[in-house]
Symmetry: C2
Subunit: 138 residues, 2 copies
């Protein structure tokens, strides 16, 4: 059951600990971007009490190992989410809801940049800000 998670962690060279398992599981089950406070809240509701320093370290390690992505939405904090296929976000300025956007097809643009600027693109971030369907109705 937890074996898939143990395996994923072990593959990165990190040690398997209960808190890391819980965090991996959290990201696997919650598909939404989450910041550290979200993660802590979710773990507390499962009666898992980890220090925030620990969560910050876990999440940065996972990010560096490529297990999760790190995002920012014009906020002061970082958000993290499972590293699934390339996609982007639409963030509602009114309620804060975050929707997924896929099929952005920026490959062409990346190619152009590499040629024009002689800049090797390794990653990109693309976020849209506006008003979501719910808030539009109000």
């Amino acid at each position: 059951m937890n074996n898939q998670y143990r395996y994923i962690i072990r593959e990165t060279g990190l040690k398997v600990t209960p808190t890391r398992l819980a965090v991996i599981k959290f990201f696997d089950q919650t598909k939404k971007p989450a910041h550290v406070a979200d993660i802590i809240k979710a773990l507390v509701s499962q009666k898992i009490y980890a220090d925030q320093a620990t969560i910050y370290r876990i999440v940065e390690n996972f990010y560096k190992k490529g297990l999760i992505n790190r995002l920012q939405f014009q906020k002061r904090k970082f958000y993290y989410e499972t590293n699934r296929e390339e996609h982007h976000h639409a963030i509602c300025n009114s309620c804060g809801k975050i929707e997924d956007i896929s099929n952005c097809s920026l490959q062409r643009l990346e190619k152009e940049i590499e040629k024009k600027h002689n800049f090797k693109v390794e990653s990109h971030s693309l976020e849209f800000f506006g008003t979501c369907s719910n808030c539009l109705q109000k």
Copy 2:
């Protein structure tokens, strides 16, 4: 000479003060994204000593009035730059250099999102991370 800047500030409904003039001028002359510490340093070199709280307030006001843009580059701090024609950035992971990217033509994508998600796009941020030409040679 400073009249253009006075005019720009006055148009927003904000009062014209020496510090605001200096900040507007700074953004007009420096085309690169800058964070608050950069601005303070530039002003100090002109013997203009303003409190950091003041700069934070000025910059947020200018941003809200649409005079400057606010950016984040996977850093904890905000960057600001003059609000010129739409463009994006390529940030070097190695030396931190920031290059401009123009002609992104995301209009098509925005239209799609508006239709598919019923989400009114008001702005977007698009940044590329990688290695710049200088760092590639090392």
